[in-house]
Amino acid sequence: MNIYRLLLRLAPRHLRHKHGREMEAMFREQLADARRRGIGAAAAVWLHALTDIAAAIPRNLLDRWRRRGRVGVPQERQSLMIGSDFRYAWRSLNHQRFASLLVIGMLALGIGSTVAVFSLVNGLFLRPFPFPKPERIVYVNETAPKWNLDETGVNYHDYAQWRRDQKVFEAIALYDQRAFNLATDGGADRMQGASVTTDFMKVVGLQPIIGRNFTQEEDAPKGPLVTLIGEAVWKERFGGRSDVLGKELKLNSRVYTIVGVLPKAAEFPGGVRLWVPMQGDPNTNAQSYGATGLARLKPGVTIEQANADLVRTQQVIFDTRDKEKVVTPFARDLREQFTRDFGTVASTLGAAVSLLLIVACANVAALMLARALARRREMGIRLAVGASRARGLRQLLVENVMLSIAGAAAGLAIGQWAIQLLITSLPDQAPSWTTFTLDGRMVVFTIATSVATAILFGWAPALHAMNKDVRGAIATATASSTAPIRGRRTLWALVVAEFALASLMFVCGGLLVRAYDRVRNTDPGFDPSNVLTFTVAVPGVKTPDDASGLAFRKRLVDRMRELAGVTEVGLISCAPVSNCHWGTFYTQENAPPRGPNDASPVILNRIASPEYFTAMGIRLKEGRFFNSSDGSGGPDNDSSIIVNESFAKLMWPGDGSAVGKRVHAGSGPPAPNRRIRWLTVVGVTRDLKHYGLERPVRPGVYLPLPLGPRSANTVVLKTAGDPALVAAAAHAAVREVDPEIPAYDMKTMDERLTLSRSLRAAYSWMLGVFAVMALVLALGGSYGVTSYLVSQRTRELGIRVALGAKRSDISRTVLKGSLAVVSIGVVLGIAGAIGAGRLLASLLFGVPPYDAPILTIAAASLAATGFLANWLPARRAARVDPMVSLRSE
């Protein structure tokens, strides 16, 4: 009831005075009535009553405004005087134009960057997948710690077992990304696609726009060649016509029939444009891992339960095929899976931008406080001549709101622009299903925070001044020219906070930039300059056996050699930093018997032509590269291989040279009665950063070309000049060799390296920018505060000058105080940064958080900033003309 009485204070005053009691009584009765009908009804009554009061507010204001002047009491008390409030506000903001722009700019920077980064984080982490009930979709894969693999990919045989036996999923499906050559009138196109099991659409919960899903029969081994096309392909190639069903597409030189069209949302995990049935054979026991699983949980089933059930179903396989329990299935939240790599980055950016928002708010607070303190005198005079306190507060409120709105508008513009910039700086790295737009909730939150800060701090001193009696207010305003101790202390605290946070961000940003530099200067293990790479997609029907495969590649390489500017032509199955991996196992000759729990790391396997090594600029540690006779015995005979340093270390630790030693394929000793194909090491290369500059190197093996010519599909061209100039000629040459085979993914190795660094480049750059922004904010804030304090001391300084103080003395006095404050902030901030650096360790690429050059640079820049911010006002103070300053009071 008391609450209602309080709320009634919002109602028109005359009503309240006259009818207050009755209104309360009425509400009491209404509430009592409603209570008898239950809590819901009571809540409804409260809601109605609140609306009732709120509805009266605008009418009340309007009435008062209309009635102004008609009433006998002084105008000030009765009217809202909106017009004059805005006029005054505009005048005073315009009068202190620089300070106003400073506040607007600070607000805009803080709001803009916060909004942009949170939109990014939101797009990556918070926006749901475009499927119905996406929270129930889980990612399924298998893990094999003994193979040194977190994720092996799903084995079809295992999948078939889960599907038969599982009890926790509504549906479980596999998908595997595949690329197709799509025959067109002019030649061939490369198109991303996926092979999926029948239940895939059931898992993601999508239906074809037209046509139907794959049937169980179509998904059986040797089933018919059918395809579902994506909405994009349907529109581009078939003009979105409904007679597309039953039409044919020539994929990988085989004819597929279109049975349906899937909506855009199905293009998961991005870039998939058509689908074919997986047609896996559950009866083969092949040790082939590579598909990815997706499953839809039954309602109420947790991920833990799903995991337990998967392991339970796997028991059959543990009992038969995998007695050592090497490969274990697991399920994981889908979003968690797709944002794993971005987790630390996003939280770092989030933290950085929150800090920036805090700095911006502290800054605005300081500036508003300084502004308000400076106007105590004006307020005091207004009070003295009869202005009401409410009027004064309202006037300040109008000003602050005007500033805030301007700042927020500019901030949103900056934010929108920054998002565009961020999107372009994150090219192929972000998952492609993400969309980045300004998020409404975020915008509201950010603006509310900064506007609240502005209003609160703009008001605080005014409230303080207003609470005293009028005489006191004028007295403080006129007699003493220096800010009250309390106000000054708050100001200094804000400056300390600003500098502390700015140095924290500066150090963290600096560390990341340094880490980026270190990554950039990491030796990749090959020579990326003047190397062009591209991949040809040769369908199986074109080269049915190794001999024809080898012949085709020979033709291709010969044609490439003829191109002007090409000095070397190599072939490789899997180029460095191209996101590819093919793992197998090897065992060394006379290997000690392996215990069931011994690790058996996966070896990166590649097929390379002799020229590949020189074309890629790979360095030899010992032995030799391949020559044309290596592997000439074909896949079934003994051969020579080249291994990397890590492989040599793994197989023969501390055992001298690896050259001449022998290994055979497979994990563990071979079956006693089988002929062993021995592979002799002829060369050891330096380690090469195959998975990216920041990823660890795996032990690796190169097999000579004749051992698997049909997987060596990436062509490596070393050129004499700019490799990009060869690109068009290379395209044409491939078409000349076979018009149905497209060359795709054509990039220089420099481009691939840049691409592999782009995520790090993006966030390091962003943090660097944040650090500079924090510095600018600190500069602005500190400048504002010192200027204010100096202007308040004009009279004191004037007296000092009049009494004979030198100008240098004056500026020293001013500087000394503020620099002490700045250094407290910097010291606190750097201490904090060393702590924060530990949290960043995973992103720092080995740069220690107490990296001396960065700390020195940070301390120096911040000190310089602090000096600059204070020196200008100090200089102005020193120029004070005692006559003017004394007269001005």
Partner: protein, 110 residues
């Protein structure tokens, strides 16, 4: 005239009432369609009083005996009665026009 103003006048045409009683009468008259909440009720009463359509009973003699002293009772004034009659006629005419226009016309498919 606003619906709630009309309903208040209508309620006061039957008897002199105080605030809460007016709200209840209005709810009854409107068959639950219009519920008045304190601020809007007293706001409306004020404006009707300002227009001279209703007046406050300040003479205790006119008050029914069983009601407590604190409550303000209102009564319809002569202009109030007139305004109610005029508004009732206006609404009646309006309803008549509307009815004649909304009759299903022959010859046009439904």
């Amino acid at each position: 005239m606003k619906t709630r103003e009309y309903l208040i006048l209508l309620a006061l045409a039957e008897a002199d009432l105080h605030g809460l009683a007016i709200a209840r009468a209005v709810e009854e008259l409107s068959e639950g369609q219009t519920r008045l909440w304190p601020v809007s009720l007293y706001g409306t009463l004020e404006s009707l009083e300002g227009l001279g359509l209703i007046e406050e009973l300040d003479d205790p003699r006119h008050r029914p005996a069983d009601e407590s002293e604190k409550k303000r009772f209102y009564r319809l004034t002569r202009p109030g009665h007139r305004a109610l009659a005029v508004e009732t006629n206006r609404l009646g005419a309006l309803v008549k026009i509307a009815r004649s226009r909304l009759k299903p016309r022959p010859g046009r498919a439904a």
